[in-house]
């Protein structure tokens, strides 16, 4: 006869309520893990979507996801000539926040070369960008439909396709546009600003007496071209030929072209270590605190439940019950409570995780590890009750 099950059956209301409470707590612990893995998945989603071998970025920087990195678009040609490189493609990144339907609407714009790579990895609905201008592919997270328009910079952009859930490191959904559109959105001034700039340059040049009018005109034209050029990108991504030596290609790019060449693996580390480390520590600490709280709650419940059963335990001892009968009853109850609470927490998260504003990633290892921890906590927590039970004297069964 299983005394633990019999006790639970008799006190099922109390047991179910306790398990639900504990389950909610464990659900929060599970979601913490999910948020952490979600942060990593989010942070790496652009890298995964881009599928580059090397990220060529401004020298002495950690690349566009960590700090400002600006390089000229045309270095893609030089990169393409480096031995071992199969393809080089420029990319531009920027976060945009506009007003949409009366609410702030924030997203991350990736500009890519339509003849290169780094664009949307998959199209779920609609099509990819075909025209060089004013078309956009958005990720699911932007919740926009095909044909919807959005005003960015100086122009309207039409959604022509939907890609999967790709987000920036900050969790903002991604929108893809052509590289030239992205550069226009980022750098191109309106006509008034251009006119004002030209006037400022003319006025400055007119103050230089030694310049002839032809020289001044030529200089003004050159300055305007430089100032109005939008051919800047944040990175050039490189794909290697099969069998090419990654390290050698990186060394060559650094030595001869004076850029930093970050491998995809290094880029992942920069993102996960640099940007997620603090979040990881915070979430980890929070999980530990919640697990300690769970342990304390289980201990208290088992202890008070043991106190309720002192007379029962004394009677069993008086009847000659072996200690394992009593220890088994307490331990099994503790384990059952933990396992049921874990199940409730798991089901709760399974049912709700897609409704969280940020991605919750349920990793099997994490789930198994937490289950093992919960089992260990139940065993340890039941020691308090077991210790109390073993101290009960059979004589306590006698009298009132």
């Amino acid at each position: 006869m299983n005394l633990a099950i019999r006790d639970i059956r008799y006190h099922r209301g109390r047991f179910i309520l306790t398990s639900i409470g504990l389950g909610l707590l464990l659900g929060v612990v599970l979601s913490m893990g999910g948020i952490y893995w979600g942060l990593i998945a989010d942070a790496l989603s652009i890298l995964d979507a881009t599928r580059a071998d090397i990220w060529v970025v401004q020298q002495d920087t950690n690349g566009p996801f960590a700090e400002s990195s600006r390089i000229q678009e045309d270095i893609k040609y030089r990169m393409a000539l480096v031995p071992g490189v199969a393809q080089a493609s420029p990319l531009s990144f920027q976060t945009v926040q506009i007003e949409r339907m009366g609410k702030p609407f924030r997203f991350f714009v990736i500009g890519y070369d339509l003849n290169g790579f780094g664009g949307p990895p998959i199209i779920f609905a609609g099509r990819n960008i075909r025209q060089k201008h004013y078309e956009m592919v958005v990720s699911k997270g932007m919740k926009m439909g095909i044909g919807e328009k959005i005003h960015l910079g100086l122009h309207d952009y039409t959604v022509v396709g939907i890609t999967n859930k790709i987000v920036s490191t900050g969790g903002d959904p991604v929108a893809y546009v052509s590289l030239s559109d992205a550069q226009d959105i980022q750098f191109k001034n309106d006509n008034n600003a251009i006119r004002n700039d030209r006037e400022r340059v003319s006025s400055w040049l007119s103050g230089i007496q030694t310049l002839s009018s032809a020289q001044a005109k030529s200089l003004k034209q050159n300055i305007a071209e430089l100032k109005e050029s939008t051919h800047t990108v944040n990175a050039v991504v490189v794909k290697l030929n099969p069998g090419a030596n990654l390290t050698k290609v990186q060394e060559r790019i650094v030595r001869w072209n004076h850029y930093r060449a970050i491998s995809n693996e290094e880029q992942s580390k920069i993102l996960s270590k640099g940007m997620i480390e603090k979040a990881r520590m915070q979430l980890g600490l929070f999980r530990i605190i919640l697990l300690i709280i769970s342990a304390v709650i289980i201990s208290l419940i088992i202890y008070t439940s043991t106190l309720d059963k002192i007379k029962v335990i004394a009677t069993l001892k008086l009847m000659g019950a072996r200690n394992r009968v009593i220890v088994g009853m307490i331990l099994q109850q503790s384990l059952l409570m933990g396992v049921i609470a874990y199940g409730i927490g798991y089901i709760l998260i399974k049912l709700t995780y897609e409704k969280f504003p940020r991605r919750i990633e349920l990793v099997p290892f994490d789930l198994y590890a937490l289950f093992a921890i919960v089992v260990a906590i139940c065993i340890i927590s039941s020691f308090v009750g077991i210790r109390k039970a073993l101290k009960v004297e059979p004589a306590q069964a006698l009298g009132g």
């Binding site: 005394l3 008799y10 029962v312 009847m319 019950a321 004589a395 069964a397 006698l398």
Partner: protein, 232 residues
Amino acid sequence: MFAIEVQNLTKIYGRGDTAVTGIAEASLQVAPGELVAILGPSGSGKTTLLTSIGLINEPTHGKVILDGTTVADERWIPGIDLKRIRREKIGFIFQFHNLIPFLTALENVMITLEINDTAAKDAKKRAIELLEALNLSHRLNNYPVALSGGELQRVAIARALANRPKMILADEPTAALDTENGMNVMALLKELALKNHSAILVVTHDHRMVENFDKIYEVRDGHIVGEKTTSA
């Protein structure tokens, strides 16, 4: 041979100035099939005597012999498995029945057998037999909370008998019952003592029940002050 034999049993609680004598130089015998009472007021040492015989309280001096085996001689005999003797040879009945609240009447009887390694199927069969014999067949699946005082004590008796013990120790079994139920319980114990050839030792302060016993030991201030054999 006596089922229960106690020779010069003394139990002292504490030491030195704080020492309190629970029972002193007590001797008694209970034969199989005999229903014997230890009668005395509260605090007289009855329960101390019962707990020493029930292998719960280690005596300070004296000898306890159960079913021909010396279990205590000045102290517990080393190597004796007290739990096993309690499990196999002694049935306990308590003042407040002490049924396990989360087990049904049937399960409360079965647990005694299962603790003693009886297979669940056999335990169930034996428990049903006992409860039917005690007119509780309609209460098998009721929890203690749903039973009357008399029914509770009858389930407790069934539990004490389940293992066919050589001796039954009862601590104030009628104290929580009205006279009619108390009388019924005593009659039942007497019947069982004869039928099962068990030695039944009852601790009581209830003078209403004296006529049921074969022998009465009167205890006062930690001493057995009288022994009376009745004609019952």
